[in-house]
């Protein structure tokens, strides 16, 4: 039943977007629909506490703890992003930067984007998961080129070509996977739970090829190096709330799909070397991202590279295996989502205040936008893994698993690279926040008013704190169950 609620909310909100003319009311409707989605997800969570897992429509939709984590991330991030869009889009329409028709398009695409992501998380059918993932590519293509400048068009074209190609390769992998299940004629062959139960009777060679294709194809969408080249451009040219949603929710979702395929084959003993794919690509992403962050010149590109780095850490965690590694990866994906949302929204505020994205031109933040600078310091500490926040514990668990496995060298390199990342962040941010360059200071009065887009930042901070209390039963139980699902 809950599935129909999602569709109902989406259809009603799109209808309102088309009918209502005032941009501010449209943004309120978008917020309301996000809240509606959130309430449905909370109800689903309550059901799962009772039943363990639910499925609808003869198993077409299937929700268990692993998908519940993703649903939480998606709906909360969507809520925060839509609250931010209220001030952001209305300000842009009032200043005449974008027309009101474009604002309508923005909200419609935003709804389609959220609902596609939700449907990816709740699908049981492999092909329907692929279809909704493709729908996210379609809906974000125009959102990236939203401001119509040359750079954003370039980013949108790269994104379209690379992600569509990646997803096409993923489809080939899925088709080979289906073929490897033998000549089963029933429609059950596309479902997770069925495939997990017959995982021993799959043809080993075909599954190897299929999983590698799926990993590389969907890894393009998740931002693993060397398929990451669309990510810095795409996430830096999109408007701030969209970047937040893409970095926070979409990359996690792509990893979730890969992990779902991994759960099918993780029980087959002949394929236990497949998890080295995760480790190798994760390490490569980490290396590429860490060294690119040192040279970054644009604040959103810096944050985009940080997304690549975090996805790399999640991938390495899954590669290490054991209970700690997977638990750490899942926790890390939650905390990364909220921290990255916080950082991207702050970046949006900075760009609105300073009217530039260049790192060298942004200085003296503590003097001009003090509230935002406090938030950005906290955000930086969260994302680089500072103790009381959950990112410290998640990385600790991943490294723990790393040292327990045979490949401790990978864990050592990971530690080294996270230190490099921390150094890059520290150097860029301290220069931005504390140092004051007398020549490039804009006038101080006009900036005070723009400080008011702070409420979504506080919401993100609350979510970060809540996630950091992960050891309390409500989150711990879900994470544990999810880890057990992945371990098989």
């Amino acid at each position: 039943m809950q599935v129909l609620y999602f569709i109902f909310i989406a259809v009603i909100s799109v209808l309102f977007f088309v009918l209502i003319k005032n941009v501010r009311y449209k943004s309120y409707i978008s917020v309301l629909s996000s809240i509606g989605n959130l309430l449905v997800v909370l109800k689903i969570a309550a059901d799962i506490q009772i039943y363990g897992s639910i499925s609808y429509f003869t198993g077409t939709y299937y929700i268990d703890s692993l998908s519940l984590i993703q649903l939480f991330i998606i709906t909360f991030v969507a809520l925060i992003a839509s609250i931010y869009s209220v001030k952001y889009i209305t300000a842009e329409v009032e200043e005449g930067v974008i027309s009101s028709k474009k604002a309508t398009l923005y909200f419609i695409l935003f709804s389609i984007f959220s609902i596609s992501m939700i449907f990816v998380a709740i699908s049981n059918n492999m092909i329907s998961m692929w279809i909704w993932l493709e729908a996210t590519t379609l809906s974000t293509a125009f959102l990236i080129s939203f401001d119509g400048s040359k750079h954003s068009l370039e980013a949108a074209w790269k994104y379209l070509i690379l992600c569509s190609l990646g997803i096409a390769v993923g489809l080939i992998g899925i088709l080979v996977f289906i073929y490897s299940a033998g000549k089963v004629e029933s429609a059950n062959v596309l479902k997770w739970d069925y495939l997990v139960s017959i995982s021993d009777s799959l043809d080993i060679n075909l599954v190897k090829i299929a999983f590698t294709l799926i990993f590389i194809g969907l890894g393009t969408k998740a931002g693993l190096a060397p398929m990451h080249t669309w990510l810095p451009d795409g996430h830096s040219q999109a408007p701030a709330p969209i970047s937040a949603m893409m970095s926070g929710a979409l990359l996690n979702l792509a990893m979730y799909v890969i992990i779902r395929f991994y759960t099918i084959i993780s029980n087959i003993s002949a394929l236990k070397y497949m998890r080295f794919l995760f480790t190798v690509f994760g390490l490569l992403s980490l290396v590429v991202a860490a060294f690119s962050m040192i040279k970054a010149k644009n604040i959103k590109r810096l944050l985009a590279y940080s997304s690549i780095e975090n996805i790399g850490i999640i991938s390495i965690g899954i590669g290490f295996g054991f209970f700690d590694g997977i638990y750490g990866s899942l926790l890390h994906s939650i905390i990364h989502a909220f921290a990255k949302t916080l950082l991207f929204l702050i970046a949006g505020n900075i760009i609105v205040s300073y009217k530039t994205k260049n790192l060298s031109e942004i200085n003296g933040m503590i003097y001009k936008i003090p509230i935002n600078s406090v938030f950005i310091i906290i955000g930086m500490l969260v994302i680089t893994g500072m103790p009381p926040f959950a990112s410290f514990f998640s990385e600790l668990k991943i490294l723990n698993a790393g040292f327990s496995s045979n490949y401790a060298i990978v864990a050592i390199i990971t530690v080294f690279l996270t230190v490099v990342v921390f150094g890059a962040f520290l150097s860029h941010f301290t220069r931005m926040i504390f140092f004051k360059d007398k020549d490039t200071l804009p006038d101080e009065e006009s900036l005070r008013e723009k400080e008011t887009n702070v409420f979504p930042l506080m919401l993100s901070l609350i979510m970060i704190v809540l996630a950091s209390l992960y050891f309390l039963p409500f989150l711990n139980k879900i994470l544990e169950k999810a880890t057990l699902i992945v371990l098989g």
């Binding site: 092909i127 493709e134 379209l160 489809l171 088709l175 062959v189 810095p232 451009d233 830096s236």
Partner: protein
């Protein structure tokens, strides 16, 4: 009979990998789409399964009529006729096609999937078009050829349910329309669709 259409698909794919005029690329794509329609129609006739009929009619409408129509309209609007200096010139395109199809035939020799050699060949030719060209329109046609190869691969596997195949074809069409719109925007902003100008974002 399907063999004849498979041969025509291969011939059109190989010839497409080296031509530089955009109109010839579009005609090659149309020929391939028509052959895929014919193959799916023949499969429908032989298995007498209703959903194959619908898929073939949909392929006919979408890929043989709608997509070339939009492509020719775009070509007229963007005023691009010939790819003057592709990344891979004609000789290397043909050579790489030969090598890749040889490798693909060798690897897929023992497999039981029906049309796998042709599907892989189409995908490889599409990938060569995608990588080896500078104009965004040619890159998009390369992507469409990869989708054609995917569809051929799908036709030869066990049947998926009708709704899913329908959704995949619709998805491909929507993707194509979005790409066409983005190319129109690129042309309006840059006055050319040469993707050499699209390499500004570096650091």
């Amino acid at each position: 009979m399907t063999d004849f259409f498979l041969a025509v698909i291969l011939i059109s794919a190989i010839l497409m990998s080296g031509v530089r005029r955009v109109k010839l690329l579009i005609s090659g794509y149309t020929v391939q789409a028509f052959c895929i329609f014919a193959i799916s129609f023949l499969t429908a006739l032989s298995t007498n399964d209703k959903h194959y009929y619908v898929i073939s009619i949909m392929t006919l409408l979408a890929k043989v009529i709608l997509v070339p129509l939009i492509l020719t309209h775009s070509v007229r609007k963007i005023k691009t006729k010939v790819e003057l200096s592709p990344v891979l010139n004609s000789f290397w395109s043909y050579t790489l096609t030969i090598i890749s199809i040889a490798l693909a035939s060798y690897i897929s020799a023992g497999s039981g999937i029906l049309y796998i050699k042709e599907a892989i060949s189409l995908s490889i030719v599409g990938a060569l078009l995608l990588i080896g060209r500078r104009k965004a329109l040619s890159q998009m046609i390369g992507f469409l050829v990869i989708e054609n190869g995917l569809m051929l691969f799908e036709l030869s596997l066990i049947k998926l349910s009708f709704l899913i195949e329908f959704a995949i074809v619709v998805e491909a069409i929507i993707l194509f329309i979005i790409m066409a719109i983005v190319i129109g925007n690129i042309n309006a902003a840059f006055d050319t669709t040469n993707t050499d100008y699209l390499s500004d974002l570096k650091e």
